[in-house]
Amino acid sequence: MRQRKIGEVILDVRNISLSFGGVKALQGISFDVREHEVRAIIGPNGAGKSSMLNCINGVYHPQEGEIVFRGEVRRDMDTHHAAESGIGRTFQNLALFKGMSVLDNIMTGRNLRMKTGILAQALHLGPARAEELREREFVEHVIDFLEIQAYRKTPVGRLPYGLQKRVDLGRALAAQPQVLLLDEPMAGMNLEEKQDMCRFVLDINDEFGTTIVLIEHDMGVVMDISDRVVVLDYGKKIGDGTPDEVRNDPEVIKAYLGVSH
């Protein structure tokens, strides 16, 4: 068994409501995420899972509610602040930088830490060079960890889907986030790729102690790797608890899991 110490609440979502015109995407959602845990968000399509993640890292701005991250109360996040304070994110539909190599994509994840100015960059002065080498070294660790050394210089557009997902994860990981939001990291993968991805997610959680919030449709995966599960349906929270509790919750079964016949 994995040995981890689940800590205090690191991210607390309080009473979030989000609507687009008349469409109520989220209605009064509250849940918390503890340090070092793997927290899953599940629910049928259109339940508001991705909207929830978008609120957490500031892509969407909820009309009501607040988000408390590491003790800091925020009415709504802005993306830059979220990234700076340690929230990382991967995307449901690949959002890689298509025109760039694998290496450059992951290097972009370090951009927040790179501060040298335009002139130093243009003249390739000592500090700019040193900074580039320092960050490159870190990125190479990420590349090693994800086992994509062979594709370093390949344009990401040319990689197969499963590897692109891995690069997406690498880009988020390069920023050394405290909380990593994964939006369907295993969608569209075959069994073997899913197993790889599960292994990466658990390793990230174990080795780096990164807290993970994950949206996933594969119930086998969710029940296996997550510590606690939130269930959303039509923008409302209908269940919250350990995988076992959620699995046996009649309302969750009715809305999402279905009854086996």
Partner: protein
């Protein structure tokens, strides 16, 4: 067979991050630069310098600037000649009003003034993108044209509206003959091209490309759109400004506002489309293409016509020139939308494997 990196091992990240990673590439580029500095000045004619080489080098610089904005950062600009105009008139005013200034300093200051104006006209990019941004930059073109035609202060109240400059003097040395001017421009262009290359391989270049490829994802990993876009506008306009100052002082000598018209802007855009978006090399290739093609057609068409028994008048020749030019642009867009630089890259990849198929 000759072009491959076998046996060239890299043992540090620094070596891996070189601009020209393969030894053969390095030799080729150094050879080319040596040729441009040591051989060309002695063999080319005055006509070559004045009509081909100097304009080619200066528009290459402007094309690099535009490519940083359009090809790397994905923000379209239809008014880049206007930023060149800013650079040219800024340099003119600096020289007229502060004659003791070193010309290199004038170049940099002209570039910085253009950069400031570039940031101003880049502000709409924070709200709009694509075609709409193109139209907004078009406004820059017309507005700046109008300013230099109407506000007499900028042209130092010259009655005709055109301005003229004295030959450039640097450290007591006059750059008067075409050869000297060529060497000066060549040196400036090489330095600025190298700086552009350094920028795009560093974190600033990556933030531009990230904005271009997927702006939401770029924001989520902490890139500020405002900083990325406006810095691209600033650097791009800086390059255009320096190129404009050179165009005015070194190539034209005297000019009027029409020298930096919308036609020039569109030509710059053609250059980077044909040469290759998001490629410094492509900017040079595109500039060469656009500068050389009309001249070549001009030379080649009449003898060709004579061959098939037709006599082209000068009017006919210039019409044909336009038609063939347009047809070639369309041909390139269809066959290789990523430009000649892409063809060059594919060629190099093939060459590494040759004579084997893969």
């Amino acid at each position: 067979m000759f072009y491959r990196e076998n046996g060239q091992f890299k043992s540090s990240y620094r070596e891996d991050q070189q601009i020209l990673g393969i030894r053969q590439d390095r030799w080729f580029i150094f050879g080319l630069i040596a040729f441009a500095f040591l051989v060309v000045p002695f063999v080319a004619s005055d006509y070559m310098f004045r009509a081909i080489l100097i304009p080619f080098l200066i528009v290459s610089l402007a094309a690099i600037g535009l490519n940083l904005l359009v090809g790397y950062c994905g923000q379209i600009s239809l008014g880049h000649a206007a930023f060149m105009a800013i650079g040219a008139y800024a340099a003119y005013n600096l020289v007229v009003r502060f004659p003791q200034l070193n010309f290199l300093l004038v170049l940099v200051l002209a570039g910085l003034i253009a950069a400031g104006v570039g940031i101003l006209f880049g502000l709409p990019s924070l709200q709009i993108k694509g075609l709409y941004l193109g139209v907004a930059t078009l406004a820059a073109q017309f507005f700046i044209d109008w300013v230099f035609a109407r506000v007499k202060w900028f042209t130092n109240y010259s009655p005709s509206g055109s301005v003229s400059t004295a030959p450039i003097e640097l450290f007591g040395y006059k750059f008067d003959s075409p050869v000297e001017r060529y060497v000066l421009v060549l040196a400036v262009v090489i330095v600025f091209a190298l700086m552009a290359k350094n920028l795009v391989r560093g974190h600033i270049g990556r933030s531009w490309m990230a904005m271009r490829d997927m702006d939401v994802a770029a924001e989520v990993i902490g890139i500020r759109p405002m900083y990325a876009k406006l810095s691209a506008f600033a650097v791009s306009a800086f390059y255009a400004g320096v190129a404009g100052a050179l165009w005015g002082f070194v190539h034209l000598g005297s000019w009027e506002p029409a020298a930096f018209s919308i036609n020039f802007s569109l030509n710059l855009l053609f250059m980077i489309i044909i040469g290759g978006m998001g490629s410094i090399l492509g900017s040079f290739i595109g500039a060469a293409f656009i500068v050389l093609l009309p001249i070549t057609l001009n030379q080649v068409l009449p003898p060709l016509g004579a061959l098939v028994g037709m006599n082209f008048g000068t009017a006919m020749a210039s019409h044909l020139e336009f038609m063939i030019f347009g047809a070639l642009i369309i041909f390139f867009l269809i066959v290789e939308p990523l430009g000649i630089a892409r063809l060059w890259a594919i060629g190099k990849e093939k060459l590494r494997l040759w004579p084997f198929p893969h």
